[in-house]
Subunit: 368 residues, 2 copies
């Protein structure tokens, strides 16, 4: 790995009442002593010290070895935070290993009232490709990405294929993991494999540009599948999509690159009906209310889908991570409030590369 | 959530040749302007500025709104890093939302040569309980822990039960996730369910204090199981261990709290033999070479296990995350170099709460 900035975060708690000016001076001395035990005597140069508020907010900034910048910060609630930031060359020993961090925690923790201290693995920044991705609820995860295989901007989005040691090749759209070779369970969950019978059925897939869904559906002998794709993964996600994307017209499927709303309008006009519409479009938007452009699109897709589904037809779509309870409730509200009376069931499955339990919906017309 | 420190990390790249003193002054002005667009005019007070080296290493420190401390740092390779650190009250609006971060990225990214910029979700520190855990290869993951249910120090280790929205109750030993209610696949993988036939067999489990392994083995009608446990999870991991830990002696099992090496020595003395020994003890140690106390223990456990296994008996044990290729190779070397000729197979399975593909070993005496 090339040079990247490493940010090491350590923290522990002291009695907030101890953070007077004198108390902070004493703490600062002990922290310097603790750090210099690891970095070497006189390895730290004090750059500044400042009292930020009279309620225990203090800041000292130091320069340490390898041009590291070290912030020692105390907060009014007794939290003591040390941030060490430096440029680590790829083959260089880390300034502080996890074990050093543990030792330092023990040394510094003695200052704290309950010895509770935390050293996080270094946060790496300026890496040649992204290794941190947020989960659906905004949590941070460091992936074991070791290679960037493809990186281009399409007219619609940034398309990347990254290799993860754990998940194989991953499709990343606009910085969000979309599907990896490890994720057959995603495809099987959205299509309800084992529950739904696709034999001789008419199926319309919206989205699903990675080809995985079409690839699995083809194994179930459906009558006909139409699919609209934005971007093909036939080269780099081959274990997921098989040979499905090699040809846009197959024995029992057709891939249409275009706007899925317009295609469905054409189907309405021609009176074409489907048994299943499977929507593999974008995730549920994160928002305070189910309003805005993205939610309008979701409503439109559901309405249009039911206008091309036959009376007992099913609309299948993925939701989002199970911990996003607000988003899921909003989506269920949207489904319940449409002018077509609809009922839904939901399932969930842990999708490896998402690192989350993911929710899937099965939506039908209410029986008259 | 109570007040905790939030650390927001932003970074982007500029031409390293532009980081002269003048170049840095210009960059600093644009960063202040960009940040004050979000924080308000004159919301930032400069505390210090320093050139750390003549190769483009500069540092400015500011105080921003809500007593935030803002480090603007440039590195010799052209990386520009902004660290914003402040105390966020539980119900307070974040100083910078993900969307603000994205907007700021765009504004600041214009300074950079290729617009590549990254804002990470805030790192939360001083939280009432840990929410970050390292994976086996040291990667950082933020878990969706929302409750600390149990937290005590035993004579041997710190024992915590935490509730995760995704994984249910999790057993955390000395800060490392051990088993969660979501992890039946771990138990089924270590015992090779479906491949091994436990009917009327003699089984010895080493470790396995969570009771999950014993609980699943009991369903396979073995003749007898002995188990040594350090700590019971019968209350909080009940969906994993069932009623297995309610009684230490059952129809076909016995739980022994004690040192498993000593117990095996006793078995050797008494001539007692087993068909399976399943070792659910600690993870493979992270080390440069397969030496040291922990590796000696691993050797000892394997040796002792084969001294109580009958000739065709199997030793089953978990390894570590699949991305820890060094640790796995060391373990396989250790197995291959013991004085007893052994052969092994390995399987792997993605364990939900570990967020990793985990390796499991099946070890046997080589056929004579």
């Amino acid at each position: 790995m090339a040079a990247c900035a490493n940010t090491i975060l350590l923290d522990f708690k002291v009695e907030s009442s101890s953070l007077t000016q004198d108390g902070f001076n004493k703490l600062e001395m002990e922290v310097i002593e603790g750090l210099e035990k690891h970095f070497g005597v006189n390895s730290m140069e004090k750059l500044m010290v400042k009292t930020l508020s009279s309620e225990g907010d203090h800041l000292s900034v130091f320069m340490g070895p390898q041009q590291s910048v070290i912030n020692l910060r105390t907060f009014s609630n007794g939290l003591v935070s040390i941030i060490i930031d430096y440029l680590k060359e790829g083959d260089e020993e880390p300034l502080l290993t996890t074990l050093d961090g543990k030792a330092l925690e023990l040394a510094l923790g003695k200052l704290g009232k309950d010895m509770k201290s935390v050293t996080l693995p270094p946060i790496k920044r300026g890496t040649p490709f992204d290794i941190y991705f947020p989960l659906s609820d905004g949590r941070l995860v460091e992936y074991d990405v070791d290679k960037l295989i493809y990186d281009e901007k399409s007219p619609f989005q940034r398309v990347q294929i990254m290799h993860s040691k754990t998940f194989g090749n991953m499709l990343v759209l606009d910085g969000l993991p979309n599907l990896a070779e490890s994720d057959l369970v995603y495809t099987e969950s959205i299509m309800c494999r084992g529950t739904e019978d696709y034999k001789d059925k008419e199926i319309l897939i919206l989205g699903g540009g990675d080809g995985a869904l079409l690839n699995e559906l083809r194994k179930e002998n459906p009558k006909q599948i139409d699919e609209m794709v934005m971007k093909i993964c036939k080269e780099h996600l081959r274990s997921a999509c098989g040979d499905t994307l090699d040809s846009y017209i197959g024995k029992n499927y057709q891939i249409i690159v275009g706007d899925c709303i317009k295609y469905m309008e054409k189907c309405v006009f021609q009176g074409k009906k489907f048994d299943y519409v499977i929507s593999d479009l974008t995730d549920l938007p994160i928002s305070e209310t189910p309003q805005g452009k993205m939610w309008e699109l979701i409503r439109k897709v559901i309405r249009m889908s039911f206008s091309v589904l036959n009376d007992t037809g099913k609309f299948l779509q993925h939701g989002t991570g199970i911990s996003c309870t607000n988003q899921l409730a909003m989506f269920e509200g949207v489904v319940g409030e449409l002018e077509i009376p609809l009922s839904f069931t939901r399932t969930h499955a842990f999708v490896p590369s998402f690192l989350e339990d993911w929710v899937f919906y099965q939506i039908q017309r209410k029986a008259a």
